[in-house]
Amino acid sequence: MTGSATDGEAPAVDAVSCSGLRYSFGETRAVDGLDLTVRDGECFGLLGPNGAGKTTAIRCMTTLLPVPASLVHVFGHDAAREPMAVRRLLGYVPQQLSADAGLTGRENVALFARVFDVPRRERARRVGQALAAVGLTAAADRLAQTYSGGMVRRLELAQALVSAPRLLILDEPTIGLDPIARTNVWEHINAVRAATGMTVLVTTHYMDEADQYCDRVALMHRGRVRALGTPAELRRGLKDRLGTDGPLPTLEDVFRDVAGSGLDDQSGDFRNVRSTRRTASRVG
């Protein structure tokens, strides 16, 4: 498997690979046999309704949840055996807003510069660049509790970027944001990607965003990947299968098709499709 954005001679190692990943909370099988490969340099979207298991899968990849050895690799490092090596390569923005409200934006970023061992002589400049990259230079010395939701998200992005991660993991980066703030967050993600070539793994339940910004997407439902490909491939695939003419179906149509078409042993009845639809369109 070759990476799309590497220009070296060496065969590119995948940014993330999961094989047969499972994780349960008691009786709840949150991730149930996940197979997934994120290639170096791509923007990969992990899609699915609330409760699909996206966050749990991410938390396994970030070493937050204990997984058995050799199920999850990040740039070739086993998440179970070499958690420190994995963490060094990661920038992580969790689903909930997570900046420290009692610190300024600059202090929030400086903390992450410190814990990633940025040397002192470089720290202030590096923190300044991370804040500039997300357009927070002017607000940098205000307490984070005065920030809007979109600004907090951008601050978290700066916290993740300050260590120059090879893989940026964003869990629902635009959840709860208004459309303008959503676009704004994505613009900053894309600008940084363009400048650094970093791999991005993003989860979302906004199918339109994934369609617009992701190179490849995986549709996840009940802990498993149900469809995988570029947004265009998936949409064209559905159109061909349905054999209809008219406009290309949306990713959301694809998802509804996939989640409700008996791929899942227990689904296929109406109630299931309806509830999937409802959760998929729920905001916040």
Binding site: T62, T63, L64, L65, P66, M84, R87, R88, L90, Y92, P94, Q95, Q96, L97, S98, A99, D100, A101, G102, L103, T104, E107, A110, L111, F112, A113, R114, V115, F116, D117, V118, P119, E122, R125, R126, Q129, A130, A132, A133, T137, L143, E156, Q159, L161, V162, S163, A164, P165, R166, A191, V192, A194, A195, T196, G197
Partner: protein, 286 residues
């Protein structure tokens, strides 16, 4: 589309000028071995000081209680001379106990704080940095020590204003600082350990309140061990607070004390606390 005046990053075809990201292209060199721990401790302490700088209310509100203890309890019992203090005024005798008490109250709060940080996503994110769990806990423990130290300074000033005669010998004061930091490290780890067991803030609040008072009254902070009933002496003997108070009294007032034993017990307690809190930290991440 872009006028591109030799842009450093040709990939960005944006109309807006791309800020310089030069440093963000290469990851920092990783610290290794023994250097990791002091660096993480410094990072946590820096955060604590920054927070205190932004919001000093806690510093003031937390000064009220020790002031009241010294002013009311201390002055009254000095007058009625009910407690055998070995010849020194009761207020003097009490001051080191109140320093230890206010440090302990601050430290006990750290368990609630770590749960709060978990709920706020702050802890989660720190756990995805190259910070071993023991280093994170040690950092928190020392941060609580820094905060307790500032609080101790406030109590020392109040006590001095009330006329308590304490040492100004810098070496002894350094010893006081070490005793305060070690004690806080233990009590913050104790409460972070309980946090790792009970996992929710409500349960921890109840337990926190249930243990702080027995720890305080089951120590020599208010009265000498000799006047306690036998069972309470037993509690006091295994209570690190008693060793901390003993050290503080010996250092600040020059009363007879057991400094090597006190510091030995405090250091061992802190080490045990860090170990147990670190081993339970993973539970908070799930």
């Amino acid at each position: 589309m872009s006028e591109a005046p030799a842009a450093p990053h040709p990939a960005s075809a944006d109309a807006t000028p791309q800020p310089d990201l030069g440093l963000l292209l290469a990851p920092p060199r990783a610290r290794t071995g023994w250097r990791v721990l002091p660096a993480r401790v410094a990072a946590m302490c820096a955060v604590e000081l920054q927070k205190l700088r932004h919001d000093r209310t806690e510093l003031y509100t937390r000064a009220v209680q020790p002031a009241l203890w010294l002013l009311i309890f201390g002055e009254t019992f000095t007058r009625i001379k009910a407690i055998p203090t070995g010849g020194i005024p009761y207020l003097d005798y009490l001051a080191p106990g109140i320093i230890a008490q206010s440090a302990m109250f601050i430290a006990i709060f750290y368990g609630i704080m770590i749960i709060w940080e978990r709920d706020a996503g702050i802890l989660t994110k720190l756990l995805v940095t190259p910070t071993p769990r023991a280093a994170l806990i040690t950092g928190k423990a020392f941060a609580s020590g820094v905060k307790a130290l500032i609080q101790a300074l406030v109590v020392v000033v109040i006590a001095a204003l009330l006329g308590v005669a304490m040492t100004w010998n810098p070496l002894r004061l350094l010893g006081v600082a070490v005793a305060v930091v070690l004690g806080s490290a233990f009590f913050s780890c104790l409460s972070m350990t309980i946090a790792g067991i009970v996992l929710t803030r409500d349960r921890l609040m109840g337990i926190g309140q249930a243990i702080t008072m027995p720890l305080f009254f089951g120590s020599n902070a208010l009265y000498p061990v000799a006047v306690m009933p036998g069972w309470l002496q037993g509690v006091s003997n295994v209570n690190p607070l008693s060793y901390q108070v003993d050290a503080l009294r010996g250092l600040l007032l020059g009363t007879p004390s057991h400094l090597p034993l006190d510091f030995g017990v405090l250091a061992a307690a802190a080490a045990v606390g860090v170990t147990s809190a670190s081993s339970l930290l993973g539970r908070l991440a799930r």
